[in-house]
Each structure stands twice: as structure tokens, then as C-alpha cells.
Symmetry: D2
Subunit: 138 residues, 4 copies
């Protein structure tokens, strides 16, 4: 585990929401991250699909950690704003969010994520997110 990965895993472990959702940080590299969560019985909406908030939660976090990965050690980031477009019903075994940095900056980091549903029927693109992170004093 390199420094970037250790730093991101340390922060991720403190997010109790991620544990509540069963989310795991599967990849933590410079500028790219992947977070997955099962489509479990406790995270559904009224039709039995994964709740939009699950896609948002892991998509936002994947984007935030992508931003954090390109900032100096000791930095923290917060989400200023995040937009999610929901593309398909989130059906399957689990959701996987892949975060990336679109444009790094000292004061503003533009980020994006794509969220996929994975299951027996393969992999489907279910959501895309576009947002803004800012570094804050820890």
C-alpha cells in the first residue's frame, strides 16, 4: 500500500456512512478511485431498486477521494456541489462507482464519477455524477 492509498483508506475508514451502506474502497490510486456497495435489502427505494442515495453516496465519495488523491498530504476535501444523472434502474448484485479528477486546482477541484450496476446480466451504467470539491483545513 503506497502513501496515497494509505491516506485514502484512513479517511474512508472514518466514514460511518460507508460502513452503514456496506461500501468498500476497492481502488485508491492517484486521480482514480473505485468504491463498491452491495444492493442489499436495507438500501432500497420503494420499487425495490437501489436507492438513488446509494449511487450518490458512493459516487460522491469516489469523486471526493479522487480529488484528495491529487492534493498534498494532510489535506481534506469537502463537496461544494454534486449533480447526479440517473440513467437506468439500479438492479443487480452491487453498485460500483469509479471516480476521477477532471481538473485539479489549488482552490477548486472538478470531479466526476460513473456508477455501474453489476449482476448476473452483466454491467450497466446506472448513474453519472459531476461536481466540485474544495480543499479545507483538516
Amino acid at each position: 500500500m503506497n502513501d496515497v492509498e494509505a491516506r485514502l483508506r484512513g479517511s474512508f475508514a472514518k466514514q460511518t456512512m460507508m460502513q452503514t451502506l456496506g461500501a468498500e474502497l476497492e481502488e485508491a490510486a492517484e486521480g482514480r478511485t473505485r468504491i463498491a456497495a452491495p444492493i442489499a435489502d436495507h438500501v432500497l427505494q420503494q420499487q425495490g431498486f437501489a436507492h438513488a442515495a446509494l449511487a450518490f453516496a458512493i459516487g460522491d465519495s469516489a469523486a471526493g477521494y479522487a480529488a484528495l488523491s491529487v492534493l498534498p498530504e494532510g489535506a481534506e476535501v469537502v463537496t461544494v456541489e454534486m449533480k447526479i444523472n440517473l440513467l437506468s434502474p439500479a438492479v443487480g448484485d452491487r453498485l460500483v462507482a469509479e471516480g476521477r479528477v477532471i481538473r485539479p486546482g489549488r482552490r477548486i477541484v472538478a470531479v466526476a464519477s460513473d456508477v455501474f450496476a453489476e449482476g448476473e446480466k452483466g454491467r450497466k451504467h446506472v448513474a453519472t455524477l459531476l461536481g466540485t470539491m474544495v480543499p479545507v483545513e483538516p
Copy 2:
């Protein structure tokens, strides 16, 4: 409990994500809804504030139910897209989301929510959401 309220409460009860987050539908009127959730230990981000996904979850649901409340009985809605701007750290006892319809339509319903943190220090505006719902066949 009138028809609109009964309909919204029936749908809300099926959302297991709402139960996981401890959220409650406090008001369900035509065009206006209110959902609250405690800032509990299991929904935090890495700095100990309520996770952005909590504000999103109740803000998106409050907006969705506001949309549902102006549609004919038997309708369902899904979120097409939702943007959240985070205004302040979500600190306090609980988050309260107030949803409203900006413009109803047969095919597209524009919606908004505001999310407030309530606690000993009073009430603070912590997030605002703007999005699009579409009616779907149940």
C-alpha cells in the same frame, strides 16, 4: 390522514433506505413535504459531520414526494437528475428536508428541496437541491 398523505406514507414505508437512515416523513401535503433524520453515529463522514449522502437522501426523497403529491393516484415518480449544493457543515441533532414542486408537468416535474440542521444552536441551512422527476408506470 387524507388520500395524498396516505399514498405518500405507503410509498415511504417501502423505502428501506429511509429506515436505515432513521428518516421519518413528518409532513406530506399537496406540493410540500418534510422528511427528518437524526445525525446519528452511523451516518457520518470522516470529519464527524452528517454525510452529504444523508442530506441528499432526505432532500431527494422530500422532492420526489412533493412531485408525487401532485400526480394522479397510482402514479410513481423516479429521479432523473438531482443537484445538491452544500452550504455549511451538517452539525446538530438532526437534518430536516423540505421538498416542493417548482413546476408540475405531465411528463416532467421540476422540484427543489432545502435541508436544515437543527440542534441546540438553532436551525442552519445546510444544503439546497434542484432536480427533475418523471412519472413512471407503477
Copy 3:
């Protein structure tokens, strides 16, 4: 004309895009602004309605000047991101954008605008915008 208004009018006059669109800064007060533009022959989309870019242009500027109005003299702002939801076809004599500050901050200013079409048939809400401005060195 007070200081805030003079400052905003000075900046507005330098925006050649506003002149190209025939836009005028009708109100420039602390935290609230209004910009209007005619629905003229040279700003239409393919169906003969005002182009979404006209609503965006005056909505974004109204929001930006609302932000500028609450910042210290000498400041400039730039748009980090802006979302527009289009509510109705923009038909009539002119569009009017009303900008406001949702939350001021030293580093981040959350802003919003509403755009109305005005004409013989009255006033109609045609767009709503939600975005983020940041102060920059002039």
C-alpha cells in the same frame, strides 16, 4: 446611485456579451439583482423561442452580480458551476432574471436566479438556476 450599484454597473458595462444580447441591468442592490433582455429575432432557437443560452446568460449574470454585491469593493467573481432547469418555452416580449445570494462565504458563494418571460399574456416562470461563484483577484 450608491457604491454597490456603481460597482456592479461598471462591471456590467464591460461585458460585451450583455450588449450583444441587448441585456440591461435593471436593479443592482445588495444581495439581489435583476437583468432583462428582449426576446429579439437574433437570440432564438430553432422553434422560434428564446434560446436557452439567453436565459442562461442573464440568469448567470444576475446571480454573479448578486454575489459580487456582497463582496468587498475591488473583488471580482467567476462562475465555478451553474445549473439551469428550463420550465417552459421562453415566449413573450422579454426575459427577466432575478439573482440572489443563497449563502455568502469568503471562498464560496452559493447563488440562484429565476428567469421569467414577460409579454401580453403576463409573466411566466421559464427557468431556475442554482450555482457557485468564487471571488478572484481582479
Copy 4:
């Protein structure tokens, strides 16, 4: 010129806003489009950069035509909502917007655009857009 291209060029020619901005439809293929506009004296903001509304105008149109290109002949599309994140000051000779379809649908088409500034210093990514188009009766 194939059918898709002819259809898109016919619609584009009716948008007087595009002519006002000096914009040209450079590419019109199925699912992908490119629109360019000069950073001319009449489309600037107060600091002398291209106005955000220029990037929005061509980015939104490029996305809309990408959506139109995948719909049946005779269809029209309108923008339901569009978000733009501005990444860098738009400086150079011209702006180029590349539009694409993220997810086509009968009722909802998710779209995106990237906008680049081109000039002596090369090509720079200045904006990214994410939005929703819906087909309408012509």
C-alpha cells in the same frame, strides 16, 4: 451529406442565436457533434475572457444535436436541464464544443459536452456540461 447531417444542419440554420454568436456546426454524426465559435469582441465577460454563456450556448447545442442525431426523423428535442462546470478562463481564438449521448432513451436522453479553447498556446479544456434532453412533438 447523409440524412442525419442534413437534418441537424437544417435545424442549426434556424437558430439565430448561433449566427449571433458566430457559431458553426463543424461535425454532425450519429451520437457525436462539434460546434465552434470565435472568441470575438462581442461575446466577452468583464475580464475580457469568453463569456460563460458562449461556452454554455455551444455546449448545450452540441449536446442537443447529439441527442437529436439518435432520434427518429421528424423529432425535435428541448433541454430540460443543463449543468456547466467552468474549468479554466476561456482565452484563445475560438471555443469548440464536442457533444455526445451518454444514454439514449425514448423519453429522456442524457447528454454531455466538453468545451475547449483553441489558440496559439494550443488546446485547453475550459468547460464540461452534463444535462437532460427530451424529445418533443415538432
